[in-house]
């Protein structure tokens, strides 16, 4: 691993997470440098989602520590983190703009920012339909819009491309490459790393709760 000159933005040290007798993470010690786009790949149950949730501060590690943006109290820096989960994290009965206005309120963001973000993801801000009636691609884009609403330094994405049509995937990839140019750090967990071939800095492979390999290129067969 190359020594980076800047301080890492995420440091996991001996991270272990057990759910009952099942160990989702078995000692992850890794650093992630700022301004890069990391793609985390691995089979189901490899611990990718758990790692991402630990970085987001949603789960408490059984052992080990995780330091994000220089602190272990992730709640203190959550203003600078964006998190997109496997589920949409949206209210199905509310329209897109109602959803974003509500979540914006939690970050102290005004509604014109929500409209801007929606437009950037090529969604129609005037859309009155509840999110439950959106297509999967639109819902994923709106979900991404929610995650980037607070203009985060560190963006965590869990399976952004699942069940997404190619046009939506294209739009999301474009946004991610824009973010990378703005020196934001992005961690993406995905089963479809090919979408990110052009923008990824590093591919991180996980097997059975540990990181087994990090490399700059995506090899065939991963």
């Amino acid at each position: 691993m190359a020594v980076s000159e800047t301080k890492p933005i995420v440091v996991a040290d001996g991270l272990i997470k057990q759910f009952g007798r099942f160990s989702a993470l078995r000692g992850v010690t890794e650093e992630f440098a700022p301004g890069k786009l990391y793609v985390i790949v691995g089979d189901n149950g490899a611990g990718k989602t758990t790692l991402l949730r630990a970085v987001a501060g949603l789960i408490h590690p059984t052992r080990g520590t995780i330091t994000v943006l220089g602190t272990r109290k992730i709640k203190d820096v959550c203003q600078k983190i964006g998190y997109m989960a496997h589920s949409s994290l949206l209210y199905d009965e509310l329209s897109g703009i109602e959803n974003l206005n509500y979540f914006g309120e939690l970050y102290g963001i005004r509604s014109d920012t929500s409209r801007e973000v929606i437009a950037r993801l090529k969604l129609n801000p005037a859309l009155e339909r509840p999110v439950g009636q959106y297509s999967q691609g639109m819902r994923q884009r709106l979900s991404l819009a929610r995650a980037v609403l607070n203009n985060p330094e560190l963006l965590l994405l869990d399976e952004p491309f699942s069940n997404v049509d190619s046009r939506s995937a294209q739009q999301m990839t474009e946004l991610l490459s824009e973010l990378r140019q703005l020196h934001k750090t992005v961690l993406v967990v995905t089963h479809y790393p090919a979408h990110l071939k052009s923008v990824a800095d590093e591919f991180v492979s996980m097997v059975a709760g540990t990181v087994v390999k990090r490399s700059g290129t995506l090899e065939a067969g991963v």
Binding site: Q18, F19, R21, S23, G27, G45, I59, A208
Partner: protein, 228 residues
């Protein structure tokens, strides 16, 4: 440690036998209630022991909330379990005593029995929560519920106290002064019950520690398994 345990067990055994003799044979027969009053020597010490255990449960829960140390959590769990057992004794012996004396099994206006019943319900629900919880932070949530339960106790007491003023009902024992010989038997039995409770809590405490160690070892084992 092991010797302390044996000593406590011996003392508990001796006190319980002595207490039994004192309560059933040596203590004077109550003038109006007769022999049935002797249940008093089991009813009241059980109640005091249960209340003491619940008090420890509350203190341990507060300590856990502040310090987050596992020992406080185990202590809270253990005292709640054993407290419920002694509380059950109170709730069984109470009506057994009430029936011949008042002619009824249960008087909802009786402040002490009813408060005990509510307390029993609260701690049963506390133990159920511990059992059903899927959270990895069960001790934390349980500590909060224990504190809520403790906050409820004075409110329960006052509500029943006022309920009684509107629905008068007889009170067992209480009032008047206790014959000093009866008081002595009561105290002996209480000491015996305290030793017994301490003994059960101690055993249960060690058991719980062992259980957690096994769980942790199994967790470590699953860490080492290399299969995907």
């Amino acid at each position: 440690m092991k010797r302390g345990f044996t000593l406590l067990a011996t003392v508990a055994g001796l006190l319980l036998s002595f207490g039994l003799y004192e309560a059933l044979i040596a203590a004077p027969t109550e003038r109006t209630m007769g022999d049935v009053q002797r249940i008093f020597y089991y009813h009241v010490p059980s109640a005091w022991t249960a209340f003491l255990l619940f008090l420890i449960n509350f203190a341990a829960s507060v300590v856990f909330l502040v310090r987050r140390n596992a020992a406080a959590d185990i202590l809270a769990l253990v005292t709640a379990e054993v407290g419920v057992v002694f509380c059950t004794v109170v709730l069984v012996t109470g009506p057994l005593w009430a029936r011949p004396v008042w002619g009824i099994w249960w008087a909802p206006g009786d402040i002490r029995l009813t408060t005990t019943l509510v307390l029993w319900l609260i701690y049963i629900s506390y133990l159920m929560l511990r059992r059903f919880s899927t959270s990895s932070q069960t001790p934390l949530v349980a500590a909060i519920v224990a504190i809520f339960g403790a906050l409820d106790v004075p409110l329960v007491y006052f509500s029943i106290w006022f309920f009684r003023t509107q629905h008068p009902s007889p009170v067992i024992g209480g009032g008047g002064s206790l014959d000093p010989r009866m008081a002595r038997v009561l105290l002996i039995n209480w000491a015996a019950f305290l030793c017994l409770a301490g003994l059960i809590c101690w055993t249960r405490y060690l058991l719980e520690i062992a259980r957690r160690q096994v769980e942790e070892a199994q967790g470590m084992e699953s860490l080492l398994e290399r299969s995907p």
